[in-house]
């Protein structure tokens, strides 16, 4: 199948390794392409990346375009934009997806601006459907669903009039498909003439720091309190957080008891958080703890004591032993969809 009218994915690489979000997007692209009866293409830009390109086919990719140049090893906006614009003009995909990473959110807007097409930011869901406006009916349009207004609303955005329809998509929300090692796709070298003037930015150095606790940026936080009982048992909190793609929080009493380090503390003397979902496990809900989390969009409390104050500010309350409730929660989430 030709890549004309395909669902195209900008494949991000970091140090010549394909980013997880790109695999997630290729899997989603396959799903959308099946509904649209079209092909999936990918664009991989970098240096020494041919081997990585081969690994992508198994996710149902019909054609991977590679653009290799030693100067393209590190992402910089100008040459990457130029390449994406040229390939989109040539291949005319109907949809182009980018990861909503610092790279995707840097290049995607520039490409959209150059092509004068729409770009929906930071989507958490993509669907195909119909759309009517001003007595024009459009079929098979991409519904681009995204949170906005600080996470207080979810908007469905469409860009029906211009092709391609483009979106950046949040990491970790699209499921990775089952690889099929027999899938037949091809790898095509795509040539773009680049001169030194196409490289106005130089990456002087790149430093990866040890991952710190990011409570402020987390959409989901699972917190444990004294009710967790022990440091070992805190593993259960970590497991739920990991399953939901969230961060780990704690009450001060849990920190003082040595269950987890101080960076995880939520509350008046810890971090103030406003995630989309806060799950308080074995936390009584003292005023000092609540001061740091009561503005969360949704709160779930899990506590053996049905009179624990935490229930007063919760949207969902489960009275029960967290050792019993959390495994059920994990099981239910894993079985989703």
């Amino acid at each position: 199948m030709s890549s004309n009218n395909s669902v195209m994915v900008f494949i991000q690489q970091d140090d010549a390794k394909v980013a997880d979000v790109s695999i997630e997007l290729l899997s989603k692209a396959r799903d959308l392409a099946d509904q649209l009866k079209t092909s999936v293409s990918g664009v991989l830009i970098g240096s020494g990346i041919k081997g990585e390109a081969e690994k992508l086919i198994q996710y149902g990719v019909d054609e991977v375009f590679i653009i290799e140049d030693t100067r393209l090893g590190d992402y910089t906006p100008m040459p990457y934009t130029k390449i994406m614009v040229e390939i989109i003009k040539k291949m005319k995909p109907q949809i182009v997806l980018y990861g909503a990473t610092t790279t995707g959110r840097d290049v995607g807007p520039r490409v959209a601006s150059n092509l004068k097409v729409g770009l929906t930011a930071d989507c958490t869901s993509l669907e195909i459907g119909d759309y009517s406006s001003k007595e024009v009916d459009y079929s098979n349009i991409l519904y681009q669903i995204r949170p906005a207004f600080g996470g207080n609303i979810v908007a469905t955005i469409v860009s029906p009039e211009k092709k391609p329809q483009m979106a950046t998509v949040r990491e970790g929300v699209m499921k990775v498909g089952t690889p099929d090692s027999k899938y037949k796709g091809k790898i095509t070298n795509f040539e773009v003439a680049l001169s030194d003037s196409d490289f106005p930015s130089v990456v002087i150095k790149k430093i990866k720091e040890e991952k710190l606790v990011d409570l402020k940026g987390a959409q989901v936080i699972v917190s444990g309190g004294v009710g967790v009982g022990s440091k070992e048992n805190f593993g259960l909190i970590l497991k739920l957080a990991h399953t939901l793609g969230g961060e780990v929080g704690a009450s001060r009493a849990a920190v003082d008891a040595g269950f987890v380090s101080k960076e995880h503390q939520v509350g008046q003397t810890g971090t103030t958080v406003r995630p989309k979902l806060y799950i308080a496990c074995g936390i009584s809900g003292s005023i000092q703890h609540r001061a740091g989390m009561d503005e969360s969009a949704r709160i779930i409390a899990i506590n053996t004591d049905h009179e624990a104050p935490i229930f007063q500010i919760s949207n969902y309350g489960i009275v029960g032993d967290l050792n019993d409730v959390i495994p059920k929660f994990i099981k239910a989430f894993k079985a989703k969809g």
Binding site: M78, T102, F149, K336
Partner: protein, 293 residues
């Protein structure tokens, strides 16, 4: 020899302190109850520009916002903190703009000022939440960009070069580039100075005024300001020579099809039984209302 600096700022509803009444019954945002504030990261962008000015005497900080007349408030605040020149671009024809149409209008306003070295934006506005306006404005100006800047490491005025620290997932990189450049600034490295009391006295009665079309480049080079600095310049679509088909709804390829509120009132507490079925039901509710992915 100073630098010519332009800062783009936006007035936004305070979505970080949303109460229960922030959503109307029909699921739309009740802007009336949300206070309008200076977009937080734009204060950091302004501070970054003021720091560059402090270090390079003779520099000028121009602040531009696009919005309704009430957005004048963020321009006054910018004057209080040290801006030299402010302009509000406002016209009914700008209404309903997506990021493409917004960046087009901002590009036209920047070109009206002209001769710029660095354009500063916030990384992201807390209402639209797209982080797209900075890169798109840079593309429309035909200039390079560095996004997610936590700190400017070095500026070499003679070589017209900048080195900036760009935050990336799990770390940062140092980027070197030449002027003119557009930066989007995060809230990590700059701490906004407070408004100055003297400047408040000077500017508190400043009001938006239509400036004559004869605003030309002599302003930048001349030692005498032709435009009164106590005036807040008000530019409409003609003043910035913008083409109407690229502005507002007409220039916006994206359309909002539907908006759902994700706020639940706390009296909506649901007790969930400690059984597999009930917990699965709760998880499904959270997935279908986009709380969980």
């Amino acid at each position: 020899m100073g630098l010519n600096l332009i800062v783009l700022v936006k007035q936004v509803p305070d979505t970080q302190n949303v109460g229960g009444d922030a959503m109307k019954e029909d699921g739309t945002v009740n802007r009336a109850v949300l206070p309008a504030i200076f977009n937080p990261e734009d204060l950091h962008a302004l501070e970054a520009a003021l720091k560059v000015k402090d270090a390079n005497p003779g520099s000028k900080v121009h602040v531009i916002t696009m919005g309704p007349p009430s957005a004048v408030q963020v321009l006054k605040d910018s004057l209080y903190r040290g801006a030299d020149f402010v302009a509000l671009i406002s016209d009914r024809k700008f209404a309903g703009a997506d990021t493409l149409a917004t960046s087009y209008a901002l590009k036209c306003a920047i070109e009206k000022i002209g001769n710029y070295d660095i354009v500063f934006c916030g990384r992201q506005a807390i209402d639209g939440d797209t982080a797209q306006v900075g890169p798109q404005t840079a593309e429309k100006l035909g200039i390079n960009q560095i996004t997610n800047v936590s700190k400017i490491e070095e500026i070499d005025i003679k070589k017209r070069e900048i080195q900036a620290r760009r935050s990336i997932e799990g770390g940062y990189e140092i980027i070197k580039a030449s002027f003119p450049i557009l930066l989007t600034v995060t809230d990590e490295g700059y701490f906004p100075r407070p408004p100055s009391v003297i400047r408040i006295m000077t500017y508190k009665n400043a009001s938006a005024e239509m400036t004559e079309a004869g605003y030309d480049e002599s302003y930048i080079d001349s030692s005498i300001d032709r435009i009164s600095e106590t005036a807040i310049n008000l530019w409409d679509i003609n003043a910035i020579s913008a083409e109407v088909e690229n502005c507002g709804l007409a220039g916006s390829p994206t359309k909002v099809k539907k908006i759902e509120s994700v706020i639940l009132k706390s009296e909506d507490i649901k007790m969930v039984e400690n059984t597999e079925d009930s917990i699965t039901g709760m998880v499904h509710e959270l997935i279908s209302d986009h709380t969980l992915g």
